[in-house]
Amino acid sequence: MKNENIITQLSIFVNNEPGRLAAVAGILRDFNINVKGFNLAESTEFGILRAIVDDPEKAFENIKSRGVIVKKTDIIGIEIEEDSPGSLFKAADVLGKAGMNIDYGYAYNGKNFESMFVRVDDPEKAVEVLKAAGIKLIKRSEI
């Protein structure tokens, strides 16, 4: 059983042309895929849409069936304590000291908490060190 703190994110390659994002969003709608959080990273001619969705396994198959480049990526969700300045620093500092680079991150407003999704090269290990440092991580079931 996969670590409950490891979350599956879908990463989708999108050409940076008018209407391309709409086309991908249309596919999400067609398959009734509920997007909980997302982030769009872009270079000049392409973008990468990263999305947290309900039932990522099924969504992955559905999106792939439309010939779109999609990939599953393991990420982790770090809870940001409310009214507690420096909590983002604390998590980043722990990872930095453990020699782990954050490839990217983006904010997410959960029902009960603020949080930050981050992608690191070794999520299992990141979960370990963050937990050991007393930092609260989001469980898959909490999204």
């Binding site: 990463s11 390659f13 270079s43 990939k71």
Partner: protein, 432 residues
């Protein structure tokens, strides 16, 4: 296996004598009966009597595509209308279309050339050949059709288009060989993948006869590994008749039927004849052509005459792979670039697919080139940094080979246009 061993394996000296005799007859005939050639030769100060050996051919003036255009549609025809049994017309991709005509004898030598070529590839009466070249004004479809019938192959005349139906027929009829443009075969391969068809598992396809557009060795490697087949290069233009001459099973150069076509390689700028092995512009004389004679025609294809003997036993001269057309050449910031060089480089990069587009534009006085490629899904990384690195890698490979910095754009699979006939991969937005 030879179709016509007498000619295909004739001693080289005898072939040259045969060519000289054909030349003599052709030039005597044209000088006496054809105003265009008569005037041209007079203008160049050459008389048929000046042709004392095959080497004297270079005294004759060149003929150009423009001559065909200026005499559109049939002013250069050398026979009365009653003798013409078929027309074809070029697509006009590089200007006004040209019309070509054929007598019964013209069709006969065309078909003969194809029968030799198909036999040399090992295609014969046991084969089922799908002709996916366009049928109609384009010479590919009907040309291959009659050539394949001549060797007794069973022809499936699908023409191009309706690719899914073509793939179904290919499976249902047990097609063993296909003739089409390389870009159409790639399109078929792409469509097959989407339909869940695996060429190795689901078809009997073994060979592909590919031509009508320049393609590269790396494209061949890509096609062969993707489909589990052997691909052969075939050459011929509508001015010559149509696709005619191909590689043999050695796949090292295209055998030219020496009794049908006489090839010279010249320097594009000076028109001087180059040594065997030197790359230059091909100049052709059609030795048997009746309806529309061609003498020293500047075909613009870039190739070289090969020096060595072919192990297949054919003595007919061979030309090396066509690397482009003299008028395909792009001059970008003073550097000559052939689209085939770009293709050669791209097809060796495993992270990208087999479709690409080249866009040329002008900013002020500067020519700019941009290349779009499709990334393969398995090489997609969701880190922008990785993708940018991949892009930089492609750019540096191009830089290495072209000696020119060309920006690359990464596209999703399926984003670039597919071609069913001749591929048009260069978009030239420059206003000349």
């Amino acid at each position: 296996m030879y179709w016509n061993a007498n000619i295909e394996c004739m001693a080289v000296d005898d072939l040259k004598k045969l060519q000289y005799r054909s030349f003599k007859n052709l030039i005597n005939n044209l000088y006496s009966f054809n105003k265009f050639y008569h005037d041209r030769m007079k203008g160049a100060g050459v008389h048929p009597d000046d042709l004392r050996s095959l080497a004297d051919v270079q005294k004759l003036p060149f003929m150009y595509k423009e001559d065909l255009r200026e005499n559109y549609p049939t002013k250069l025809f050398n026979v009365p209308n009653t003798e013409i049994v078929r027309f074809h017309a070029s697509s006009g991709t590089s200007g006004k279309p040209t019309v070509v005509g054929y007598t019964q004898n013209d069709l006969a030598y065309w078909t003969e050339a194809l029968a030799r070529s198909l036999t040399s590839i090992g295609i014969g009466s046991n084969d089922i050949l799908q002709v996916s070249y366009g049928y109609g004004l384009f010479t590919g479809g009907l040309g291959l059709h009659y050539g394949a019938e001549k060797v007794g192959a069973s022809v499936v005349p699908t023409s191009n288009g309706n690719t899914e139906r073509q793939l179904e027929l290919m499976q249902d009829l047990g097609v063993t060989a296909i003739a089409c443009t390389p870009s159409y075969l790639m399109h078929m391969s792409y469509t097959a993948e989407k339909m869940g068809i695996d060429f190795r598992r689901d078809t009997c396809l073994k060979k592909a006869v590919l031509g009508a557009e320049p393609w590269t060795e790396s494209m061949r490697a890509k096609i062969e590994s993707a489909m589990g087949i052997k691909a052969y290069d075939i050459y011929g233009t509508s001015e010559q008749a149509g696709p005619m001459f191909s590689e043999c099973e050695e796949r090292n150069g295209i055998h030219i039927g020496a009794d049908i076509m006489y090839v010279e390689i010249v320097d594009s700028d000076t028109g001087e004849i180059l040594e065997d092995g030197e790359r230059g512009e091909m100049v052709v004389t059609m030795l048997k052509k009746e309806a529309l004679p061609l003498v020293r025609f500047r075909i613009k294809d870039i190739t070289s005459l090969m020096k060595d003997e072919c192990p297949c036993g054919r003595t007919s001269p061979r030309i090396s792979r066509i690397t482009g057309r003299a008028d395909d050449m792009l001059i970008i910031r003073g550097i000559n670039v052939f689209p085939s060089q770009i293709e050669y480089t791209l097809m060796r990069i495993p992270q990208i697919g087999d479709q690409y587009m080249i866009e040329v534009s002008r900013e002020g006085a500067l020519d700019n080139m941009k290349i779009q490629v499709e990334i393969k899904p398995e090489f997609f990384s969701d880190k922008v940094e990785d993708m940018v690195k991949l892009r930089a890698h492609i750019e540096s490979e191009l830089k290495k080979y072209l000696n020119l910095a060309v920006p690359v754009e990464l596209k999703a699979p399926g984003a670039l246009p597919r071609f069913e006939g001749k591929a048009k991969r260069v978009i030239d937005k420059r206003v000349m």
